[in-house]
Amino acid sequence: MTAVTVNGQPEDVGAGTTVADLVARHRPSSRGVAVARNEEVVPRSQWDTTPAAEGDRFEILTAAQGG
């Protein structure tokens, strides 16, 4: 298992888990979703090929009401 942080919470994911997998686990649709890995954006085109590594900090974000 690989220990990562997702939106500030610790989470264990299987080896080989990609960003795409992570997103799918938290959100049915990926419309309007962005992901940061260790504070840097992961382009949607690289979600499938970017693995989660031990200690990675992920932020999975989407739209909220805002002024």
Partner: protein, 265 residues
């Protein structure tokens, strides 16, 4: 009573409405949806936040359904670094390179930090963003933001959510007088006359959120703001009468009858 208004052009996008609506503070998605419709806006801001599994529905779905464009903001960022990262994530999430750049310096006033703002704007412009910069009412800062490539400058009337209106109309007029990019009055609008005044000062558009979303009746206030922006814009175009120190009779004395008769001896 619909008026064909000359469209607003920001960067290469034409907008049929000169009102930009923020979505923060709306009591429900249903009220938000109705307010967006009532306002007539074609551009609506959203923030980027952690996904919330409990969230009932999504603001994005509402905006998609209404066909209005999304303007992501960087609300809550105190540094250029955070703001730039937030903008890049927003670009990824919403597939737009437009961003309302907001870098604040203080959590009580939410006033922009001019130094961090300039740094962030430089990076985002370099990075290909269409930057609409939320800024103070400082004309020199506004010009600097324009010079470094912002697509619009968005000076505040007064602090976000304060409803104080436009504290320094003189500065807003200075910004308008010198700007070659659109000027959007952003923050501080409390009621309709504030929005009308912004347009009369020559702003190209008004961005507001709390004034509508936190009004007692958000839909009626959205409607009011739609009229107010049109009113102010038309008044600016129409060319107002000058302020005079004394009266200027609207009724002429010419032909006034003598109804007192001859003086009694």
């Amino acid at each position: 009573m619909d008026t064909p208004v000359d469209p607003l052009k920001i960067a290469d996008r034409e907008l049929g409405s000169r009102l930009v609506l923020g979505t923060g503070g709306a009591p429900s998605l249903d009220l938000l949806e109705r307010a967006v419709v009532a306002s007539g806006t074609e551009l609506v801001t959203v923030a980027l936040r952690r996904i919330d599994p409990q969230a009932p529905g999504s603001v994005l779905e509402v905006l998609d359904r209404l066909g209005v464009a999304v303007l992501p903001n960087t609300a809550g960022c105190y540094t250029a670094t955070e703001a730039v990262r937030t903008a890049r994530l927003a670009r990824e999430a919403f597939e737009t390179d437009w961003v309302k750049l907001e870098v604040i310096g203080d959590d009580r006033t939410l006033l922009p930090d001019p130094v961090e703002l300039v740094h962030a704007a430089e990076q985002l412009v370099d990075d290909g963003f269409t930057v609409l910069a939320y800024t103070t009412d400082d004309p020199i800062l506004a010009r600097r933001l324009e010079d470094l490539g912002c697509a619009a400058v968005m000076p505040l009337g007064s602090p976000i959510g304060s409803g104080m209106g436009i504290n320094n109309p003189y500065n807003i007029a200075l910004i308008v007088a010198q700007a070659a990019v659109p000027v959007v009055l952003d923050a501080g609008v409390g009621t309709a006359s504030d929005a009308a005044l912004a347009m009369e000062l020559g702003c190209d558009a008004v961005l507001l959120a709390s004034a509508v979303t936190r009004a007692q009746d958000p839909v009626a206030m959205a409607h009011a703001m739609r009229h107010a922006v049109a009113a102010g814009h038309l008044a600016r175009i129409a060319g107002r009468i000058p302020r005079r120190h004394y009266a200027d009779a609207s009724t002429s004395d010419e032909g006034r009858p003598d109804l007192l008769g001859p003086d009694p001896l």
